[in-house]
Symmetry: C2
Subunit: 259 residues, 2 copies
């Protein structure tokens, strides 16, 4: 049996330590091709580049075992996946992994996440896909601790196959290997950000703002990703791109919009 | 009773005819405040501006009845909603409407849509929200035809209240008022884009690509937004931002990730 083909991408950019760690881990499991943004793309959500040119270049970032093929791309994470699948790879990958993100993509953060948008883009195209994030925003975060769990999740995904229309959102607590209690399948916690805009005035007298905010957990459930992470578990949320709120269709039909 | 406060935004930018039409329609229903991007933001998905400054300016774009307060913002549609709610408005709006988008946001397009990301952002913050899109990409599309239906949907939303965790994705066929058959509550059709990258070389010898593609409908259901639109109906899809694939949790628990 040939080695599985693994497409690796991220949103922090091709030189990010989180990506370099994920490439190393995937080198143990299959043939790795990297297509990653040439600059940080955090908070880009599911943006795509429709009104601008996309540049892509074969690069060598560092000497890793397994000698992955690597391409940088001037676009967003979703662009990287599209370009990877359509232009760079000569066959369909067996799986697409995105990350490891420097920072959490749990609960409502999934909506804003470039890491997860790459996984979702691959999922839309029928490829098993997983986004990985570590709860440590530091550039020098210790990604090694997450290696065994990440490899286990990817191995099982390759073996079991992904449920249709689903990608995985995996978040990893900032703990040493020994202190991680296990892996929990969860639902996305209800949460939002309480924005605070930091209002300033430029030297030229123009008002401007910095977006800052505080995370607000609105969910006391013990079956959520936030609970799992707070209690030392890795969270795995099956995430879908059919956004239909099926349960609300009946309710809306009572609105009698055609009368 | 005081008039409802209506926050209006879009992703095509504050001067887009689709937005100007929506502002006019909303002027018949309540007090309108506009916070919209100062430049086109199509395809921006749920991007937010976390590593750059946000500028916002009070502007007068045209003389509309109801004298809406208008602010342009240098950010994405989701930024506009955050800034509107947190900085510009002095009370919580009764509803947020986004659009009218120049072009479809049906089926999988919801994922890439700046129009819908604004509505979703408002929904996350607990505000009833609707994205409107017309199936006509032309800058000079005839938005007037959609007026009566849009006002009906907004009136009913204000009256009935939005189901929790749900925003509406409304798409309108390119038809005259008389030829629109009605309004249908639908589910998001399964579809994707078959990308085609147009590969070119710059005068300096650098490879680059334009992202193009063909829409591929993978769904024969007659309860989908695509079916409704193809058959002359306005589609209304209840859209959620809990992305958990609840049906897949049991399946993933059989993966025995902790063994």
């Amino acid at each position: 049996m040939s080695k599985p083909l693994i497409l690796v991408t991220n949103d922090d950019g091709i030189t990010a330590p989180g990506l370099r760690a994920l490439i190393r881990f995937m080198g143990d499991l299959g043939e790795v091709v990297v297509v990653a943004p040439d600059s940080p793309q955090s908070g880009k959500g599911h943006a795509i580049t429709i009104d601008d040119t996309l540049f892509s270049t074969k690069v060598t970032v560092d000497q890793l075992h397994g000698a992955p093929k690597e391409y940088s791309c001037s676009g967003t994470p979703a662009d990287c996946v599209k370009l990877g699948l359509q232009v760079i790879l000569d066959r369909k990958p067996d799986i697409c992994v995105s990350g490891i993100n420097h920072g959490s993509n749990s609960s409502i953060n999934v909506i804003y996440s470039g890491t997860m948008s790459a996984a979702i883009e691959a999922g839309i195209e029928g490829i098993p896909a997983i986004g990985f994030s570590l709860l440590d925003y530091s550039w020098n975060a210790d990604f090694e601790q997450a290696g065994p769990a990440i490899k286990k999740i990817v191995r099982q995904s390759l073996k079991k196959g992904m449920p249709e229309g689903v990608v995985l959102n995996v978040n990893i607590p900032k703990l040493s290997k020994e202190n991680i209690k296990g892996i929990k399948v969860c639902r996305q916690a209800r949460a939002n950000w309480k924005e605070k805009f930091d209002h300033r005035t430029s030297p030229m007298g123009k008002d401007y703002y910095w977006l800052t905010g505080e995370f607000e957990l609105l969910d006391k459930g013990e079956d959520t990703d936030e609970w799992a992470l707070a209690n030392g578990y890795i969270s795995v949320v099956p995430t879908q791109f059919d956004l239909t709120a099926h349960h609300a269709i009946q309710n809306l039909n009572t609105w009698n919009l055609n009368e």
